[in-house]
């Protein structure tokens, strides 16, 4: 049954899962910003 360690693992699983998803969303935002910056650079040149 439950031990302190097993509850830590449960919380870690949920927190790490959402950290991975949040990291991916930030990666997507960075990707869009990079495309926008490069498109503006191209338009200026």
């Amino acid at each position: 049954m439950d031990t302190v360690r097993s509850l830590q693992h449960l919380h870690a699983a949920y927190i790490l899962a959402w950290c991975a998803h949040l990291g991916y969303v930030l990666y997507l935002v960075r990707g869009f910003m990079q495309v926008k910056r490069e498109a503006e650079g191209l338009r200026k040149s």
């Binding site: 097993s6 449960l10 699983a13 790490l16 991975a20 998803h21 991916y24 495309v35």
Partner: protein, 237 residues
């Protein structure tokens, strides 16, 4: 999808995920032998279900790409394939990570090389290789080679799914679509179904955003190529 529709979808997905989290942590009953650690199940299974769906989208898009190579729709299929593969790796990584965090308190080990875990790790490696091929190779052949790899890579998906039926494994036998008497406690089913629906909707939304990013990158690369050609032509005059 316009901005209003996207915002509406994002709100619906956020509500579904929040409700799923509440069901998994607060409402679903505590499993008798494992205790609360079993609640990892409600993220572990939906993560893999979404990953497998993404790998299936990657397969279909890759086949479409190979059939329609050289046509305008091939670029869209290629964008869909790479988007699905990336999301498949993300969800598969979450599945592997949650699985290891579940295994340590229950089995006493983080990892074992049984058929289910090994075939899943191989699946993850195949699609990481696919993404590395896309990222590191240059030239027109890269999408074609990646599409061929995707078709062979998907062969591992049914092997992963069937591994706990075909071989005796450390990983538990199936609780969904398993043998008689192996099913999930009916009180746990709503939490699983809500999280499955939430993860699928969340995966679909991320896929759409990633697809739009890939299409924008394709258009930018095309514009850069046209710009370089124009510069070269002007210099030649």
């Amino acid at each position: 999808m316009n901005r209003a529709a996207f915002t509406f979808s994002a709100v619906v997905v956020a509500i579904l995920l929040s409700y799923g989290l509440h069901e998994a942590l607060d409402v679903a009953p505590t499993e008798a032998s494992m205790g609360n650690i079993q609640r990892i199940f409600y993220y572990h299974v939906p993560s893999y279900a979404t990953a497998f769906s993404m790998f299936a989208v990657n397969l279909l898009a890759s086949v479409f790409y190979l059939l329609r190579r050289g046509t305008p729709s091939a670029a869209a299929a290629d964008a869909a394939a790479v988007s699905a593969a990336e999301l498949g790796v993300l969800f598969c990584s979450v599945g592997l990570m949650t699985g290891m965090l579940w295994a340590k308190p229950v089995w006493g080990i983080w990892w074992t090389w049984d058929a289910r875990l090994t075939s899943t790790f191989v699946l993850w490696l195949i699609y990481v290789s696919y993404l590395m091929l896309r990222r590191l190779s240059e030239g027109d052949q890269a999408p074609t080679l990646a599409a061929a790899l995707a078709i062979f890579g998907f062969v591992d998906v049914p092997i992963v799914y069937m591994s706990i039926r075909w071989w005796r494994t450390q990983h538990p036998q199936p609780v969904i679509f398993g043998e008689q008497g192996s099913g999930l406690d009916p009180a746990m089913v709503p939490a699983l179904l809500i999280n499955l629906a939430a993860f699928m909707c969340y995966g679909a939304m991320l896929f759409w955003v990633r697809y739009k990013l890939e299409r924008a990158r394709q258009q930018l690369r095309l514009a850069q190529a046209v710009h370089s050609l124009e510069l070269a032509r002007m210099e030649a005059r």
